[in-house]
Symmetry: C2
Subunit: 490 residues, 2 copies
Amino acid sequence: MEGIQIEWVESGDIFLASPATKKILSQSLKVGVLFSGGPASGGNDVLAGLYHTLKKIHPDSELIGFLGGPFGLLENRAKKIELSDIEKHQKQGGFDLLGTGRTKLETEADYAKALSAIETLKLDGLVFIGGDDTNTNAYHLATHLEKANNRCTIVGVPKTIDGDLKSAYIETSFGFDTATRVYGELIGNISKDAISSLKYTHFIRLMGRTASHIALECALMTHPNLTYISEEVLNKKLTLKEVVEEVVELLEMRAKRGKNYAVILLPEGLIEAIFEIKVLLQELSRLEAKGGDKKDLSKESLTLLQSLPEDFQRMLLFERDPHGNVQVSKIETEKLLSLMVEKRLKEKKSEVSFNPLHHFFGYEGRCATPSLFDTTYSYELGCVSALLIRDKRSSTMASVKGLAGSPSTWRMQGVPLRLLMGQEERKGRVQAVIKKSLVDLGGPVFQKFKKERENWKLEDGYLSPGPMQLSNFLITNTLKLENKNFSEIP
Amino acid sequence: MEGIQIEWVESGDIFLASPATKKILSQSLKVGVLFSGGPASGGNDVLAGLYHTLKKIHPDSELIGFLGGPFGLLENRAKKIELSDIEKHQKQGGFDLLGTGRTKLETEADYAKALSAIETLKLDGLVFIGGDDTNTNAYHLATHLEKANNRCTIVGVPKTIDGDLKSAYIETSFGFDTATRVYGELIGNISKDAISSLKYTHFIRLMGRTASHIALECALMTHPNLTYISEEVLNKKLTLKEVVEEVVELLEMRAKRGKNYAVILLPEGLIEAIFEIKVLLQELSRLEAKGGDKKDLSKESLTLLQSLPEDFQRMLLFERDPHGNVQVSKIETEKLLSLMVEKRLKEKKSEVSFNPLHHFFGYEGRCATPSLFDTTYSYELGCVSALLIRDKRSSTMASVKGLAGSPSTWRMQGVPLRLLMGQEERKGRVQAVIKKSLVDLGGPVFQKFKKERENWKLEDGYLSPGPMQLSNFLITNTLKLENKNFSEIP
């Protein structure tokens, strides 16, 4: 860890790390940290990097972990993190050392509670390990603390398996690498099963509700016969009928070649990317309370609803969450699609022999043992966070640049959170929020996929990456393709 | 591969390998091989061991692979396996080099077709790589060939991820080790997610319809809060209500300790192990054709059917396979159980916060990259098969003994198939079939599980094995506990 010899210099908007002077503080630091949102592999390594660096800055420094996510901050439920905790958890998956949660800081009362905890504990810094929502909260809290003349330094760390927290300043979030490797292994295994058993059509749904980075990366890793990317479906304004027809066409082309098996990937968000379904879901959510009357739907939505398999109709109409909302995340899109394909094949009296199998991969990849990339990267993010606090750079996100190159050439940075913010309407008012990064249909990753996917349809060029080997340093196709200096990789 | 220096000597019923004389044949061998049933990791290594040994026995020996399983034998669809095929597939998962299938050899006409293919190709030997059904077929074919004075040597290789093809003579089948490691990794990841997210109850169904070896091994690997073992459920004659009540009780005890999360494992076969459901399924299958009339059910079965969630009632009544049978393998037992638990919690006005998530792991583990144990063991099985053919020991199963010790002390054996046979009534007549090995409730594996499981209920002692590392030589808990000389492991 060379971070201790690094000084932060402001260069334009970004705080660049320059390995100039050794700067050890005469006073110790007391720093809080919390996990927020879904777990991602590497979280424990962020804590390790943070802990070790704080101790190097001053041996009496303390790291305090808030329990159960932001809720722990509001309630000041915390524990001191000891070296033994770090030794037990480093390089392991899971957020179980502290737990996590989805409580948001939204109201003045929330900020007051957070301020109170920070003051009570006399924190010099507070690190938010989370995604776009969490870092949005961190930004607003920092603004609030500044107004209140509290000098606690607020730092964000980019975490999300979805890979949608990235920008010109943040090359990737931690957790994406490991999650896609876990899913890639499973998809590879299933593809091998498809060409061994020769009779199953596998519909595999992957996590990723807004952005399809996971599905895109997994497609490049494993070369399935068909992959939906929500951003493209949205862009092309594909209807459900068109999506079904595309699968049917694929299966028929393959069957003609004697291949009654296939592997199809779809992101969790596909269901909402199909425009007419999104409208239907919105109308359903507006129907009053549970089991609202179908006849209040628009004619188009009613027709669409009635075209869906019965189980799905019932689910959409009657199975609401406690707030009366349609539970989109519970819709098994892979089954919906497969049932509609089956119906269409029957209508066409198709000769395709159709034996569908359904899979959903998500929770398996959030707490996996981190890849060597994720342990290394996350540890560095922890180091950067400690240095940002040492140097009182509040309202920043820890960042490491040059990730597609060798770790010895990585560069530590602090990015002001305001550079990552955009405007969004939420609950009727425009708010500053961290922008989610969607799949760029003109970008190098999607373009490579687009160029190659036609070959994957009929030829069975399935790749099977196998189990992640913890001593192999690899980077994702996404990171490689998005980064110009990938030729530097050792 | 020292097999070439091994001679087979008959000692009682078993052909023991004794590393005595070097015996290279003056004539080459032509050997057929086929995969049968579901894939299992290690199949390619069996081919590699077989190929290399045949070439050592005589450089002109040939290995012929039948395509698409036993059907390929009947139709004489075959290809010559080349060194390049072996090099490409060795240590990889999948049966894709040859494909597989579930065609059985049952009629006189089938045996005549098989004989015809064997005669046409002038095979000196034929290796069946498969489970209990496949090896039963191999046994009957060998008997048939003997009667027909054909001298082709028939050898079976024990393959199944289920782990139910074992006995005093066969310590384990190949594929069980890898499959349980893949599932164990995923269960471990999910358990970490449970103690990180602190709000989900995970119901995880695992492959294993007749025997629960997979669930038992995975439980010992990962220490979930609750695991059902079909053999025990059957033995205790548990009712569906009792099973539901046990889960409810667990969740309530945990909730009292502030733990609104849990991990529950169940084998695929659980549904049929619950006696009253088995009766219902049998009655339903007897109901005439599709959608048979509910009122023909017994009173008990009708009451049970009506107590099930609606979707399941509909599925059982109307969704039949092309032969009109209930599709037991399509029943999502993990969802059925979870819905019934939810209903019961509501009835009781329980304070448990219940957020169920459902998983099924099966196909992911059949074609995974084989573990070091499975590559080593499967390769040896291939070597033994070649030697059994060289020495004309027909109607035998290749076996390796002492697997819980170091591979350098493993002993090659050939076991006459008749020693593995039992009597079973199938289709109204008593037939000789290979006996399936179920979980022995008095055996050391179940006993260890029984001794420890109480501790797993409330304490969260989850273990997370992490991704399989291909250079680690490990053996399963099952093999270790069942084998006395496990202290020999290096």
